[in-house]
């Protein structure tokens, strides 16, 4: 029998793989034009990001941040909202976390301090997403435009706050003071010495928990049902008694909180101080991850690891091949978003034709 719809395995697995391959082929072409061998580069990348245990540890460290930003974009997408503001929300999450640290790191024990800081990160991230959510729900201002504005407002405001209030006396570097040891996320190398001196920390486990909770909340709870109904057809959901504006605001709050939590890994897991522009594009990587992982927990995890590997492997590759600087991977990231996000159905018609050819009539 002929079919007009692609089977699930094709949309969930085959198309993403085809799209990813296309993006990597274009990247390989560019690397070839830069005078380097794509295959050799790929080998170096895989070796340093996956095979080597310390490298893998770094890959998972980066992935922990990306899982949170990817979840932030995904949950908003499930409600039909495109939250481009992950970058700003993560930045503000970092501020919430830092304020908790600066006030309490001398007085509270680690088991109280760390949850307090995590709560601060989530709260500030949610706060920064709250206004765009409210404006979308109640005033109809498009969340895409407002979250873009809020990214820029966050960048300027944080610049002001850090430079004016957080730089310790006598310092020039635009960053807060270093937190006391009680505020450091426990690193996993304490239990797994094979990881070496790498910053992989408990945030990774938190990210896994967040993935599982996301899966349960979105697909197995009433709230998740209302969320998805709103995203698929707001009018139908409204007719069925779902409060659209409430769902939108709550979705944005959760999305912002998740983006804010991404700061926990970067700040508490590694640097231990708040610095200017610390998100460094992680909020935008979240968009790529949500699109590539099709907002599914397993997909989000795999894409986050892929992007973590590109960053870690790309760093080592840039040391060996000066013609392939780290910025090459920003380009590749853009290609992946283009192929896996915007052109996700590029191969759809061809695959459908092949499947129908196989079925014969």
């Amino acid at each position: 029998m002929k079919t007009t719809e692609l089977p699930r395995w094709a949309t969930a697995l085959l198309l993403p793989v085809l799209n990813l391959t296309s993006a990597l082929l274009v990247a390989a072409l560019v690397i070839r034009l830069l005078g380097e061998s794509p295959l050799e580069s790929m080998t170096i990348l895989v070796n340093s990001a996956i095979v080597n245990p310390e490298g893998l540890s770094y890959t998972l460290f980066y992935a922990s941040t990306f899982i949170f930003t990817g979840l932030a974009v995904s949950i908003a997408m499930k409600a039909g909202l495109f939250n481009i503001g992950g970058e700003g929300q993560m930045y503000f999450g970092g501020l919430g976390l830092t304020l908790a640290m600066l006030f309490f790191d001398a007085s509270l024990p680690a088991w109280l301090l760390i949850p307090a800081a995590i709560a601060g990160a989530a709260l500030f991230g949610a706060m920064w997403a709250c206004i765009p959510g409210y404006l979308q729900a109640r005033r109809g201002s498009h969340v895409v435009v407002t979250t873009i504005m809020f990214n820029f407002i966050a960048a300027s405001l944080m610049n002001f706050i850090i430079v004016k209030y957080l730089i310790p006396d006598g310092q020039q570097n635009p960053a807060s003071r270093v937190f006391l040891d009680a505020g450091a996320m426990p690193r996993l190398n304490a239990w797994l010495p094979v990881l070496g001196d790498t910053p992989l920390n408990v945030s990774f486990l938190l990210a896994i928990v967040a993935l599982a909770m996301y899966g349960v909340m979105v697909w197995r709870s009433l709230w998740g049902y209302q969320l998805r109904a709103t995203g698929l057809n707001a009018h139908a959901a409204h007719y069925a008694g779902v409060s659209i504006s409430r769902t939108i605001i709550v979705a944005m709050l959760v999305s912002g909180a998740l983006a804010g939590l991404a700061a926990v890994n970067s700040v508490m897991g590694s640097t231990h101080y708040l610095s200017l522009n610390f998100p460094a594009g992680a909020g935008f990587v979240g968009i790529a991850i949500a699109l590539m992982g099709r907002q599914h927990p397993v997909g989000i995890f795999l894409s986050a690891v892929l992007f973590g590997a590109l960053i870690q492997g790309g760093f080592d590759l840039s040391l060996e091949k000066p013609n392939i600087p780290q910025e090459t991977f920003i380009f590749i990231q853009g290609l992946i978003i283009l192929f896996c996000g915007a052109m996700e159905n590029f191969y759809g018609p061809a695959v459908l034709r092949l499947i129908n050819l196989g079925r014969k009539g």
Partner: protein, 322 residues
């Protein structure tokens, strides 16, 4: 207190800041009025800035640079059109993808060709120089008039005049030409336009092409007029700021251009206010002034000042009805 605060130089630098935004915002206006969201302005500005700086440096001729910028930016706009119009993909995602990809690629290429940390060499003589109007020297010593004629009306690069000349031209094209009518129809109600015999896809592609060309001038202006070199991520959010001006100006050419001039004025003021003590408030940090355009636009978007209404079909791919 006003001795550091030169009104005259604020006026001149406003005129010099505005063209980047005007070119980009008018580019976005064509795309968005036809129904395609143009988030890729930033990426196109950056790509065109790099291409024009690199070609102008290599050929030592700024006009070849401008031409290269036009070609690159138009090609990107057509790619964006292919994804958004032909493939019916997500237009927002296509825009973000192009921005991120160009931010990386321009650096990689600049590093590969020039090895100066993602910068192109100084253009030197290959920059576009300021036009000196005839008679500038004659009136130079006349108070006010000398300044006004020599620095406000005259003394800018050709692209500045082009930017300001485009404002009424775009207004005419959008509101008084046949193409403009069709363009707006495609952005408001593509099905009605289609029923009336307008080729929606072709109109949108045409709009994207115009957007690509206009946007390239923004990049070329940045690289070969304002700075005289290409620098990594030198667009620094200008594409998004232009989009902000577009939203602020309610997708109308005159108001949008007004927004661009206003935003150009803010950044001129910001540079002037750096380290100046004002009465009552003291020093206002530049980072807070930078926020003003975005905050004002959010307020406009919230409907608290004036209502900003996007073209109705903005962001939805057109699927011909049967």
């Amino acid at each position: 207190m006003f001795e550091d605060f030169h009104f005259a130089s604020i006026v001149v630098s406003t005129i010099r800041n505005a063209p980047v935004l005007i070119f980009a915002a008018l580019a976005g206006l064509f795309a968005e009025r036809s129904g395609v969201i143009d988030l890729a302005l930033e990426g196109k500005i950056l790509a065109s800035a790099f291409a024009s700086a690199a070609v102008a440096y290599t050929t030592q001729n700024p006009w070849y640079g401008v031409a290269a910028g036009v070609a690159v930016s138009a090609a990107l706009a057509l790619l964006q059109g292919f994804v958004s119009i032909t493939q019916k993909g997500n237009q927002l995602v296509a825009g973000i993808a192009i921005n991120i990809a160009m931010s990386g690629l321009t650096f990689v290429l600049a590093q590969f060709f020039y090895q100066q940390g993602g910068r192109t060499p100084d253009l030197g003589q290959a920059r576009l120089f300021d036009v000196v109007l005839p008679g500038t020297a004659a009136v130079a010593n006349v108070p006010f008039l000398g300044w006004f004629y020599g620095h406000v009306i005259g003394g800018h690069a050709v692209l500045v005049y082009l930017a300001f000349a485009l404002i009424p031209l775009v207004h005419w094209v959008i509101y008084h030409s046949r193409f403009g009518l069709r363009l707006r129809a495609c952005g408001e109600n593509p099905h009605a336009a289609d029923a009336a015999g307008v080729n929606v896809a072709a109109t949108r592609f045409m709009a994207m092409l115009i957007a690509g060309v206009l946007c390239s001038f923004a990049g070329a202006y940045l690289a070969i007029v304002q700075s005289g070199f290409f620098l990594r991520d030198m667009s620094a959010g200008a594409g998004y700021l232009a989009l902000t001006a577009l939203v602020f100006g309610n997708w109308r050419p005159l108001y949008t251009a007004l927004g661009c001039v206003m935003f150009g004025f803010f950044s001129a003021v910001q540079i002037q206010m750096e380290g100046v003590d004002l009465p009552l408030v003291g020093r206002i940090p530049g980072s807070l002034i930078q926020m003003i355009p975005y905050v004002v636009t959010v307020i406009v978007l919230a409907g608290l000042m004036a209502k900003s209404v996007a073209p109705k079909a903005l962001g939805t791919p057109f699927v011909k009805s049967r």
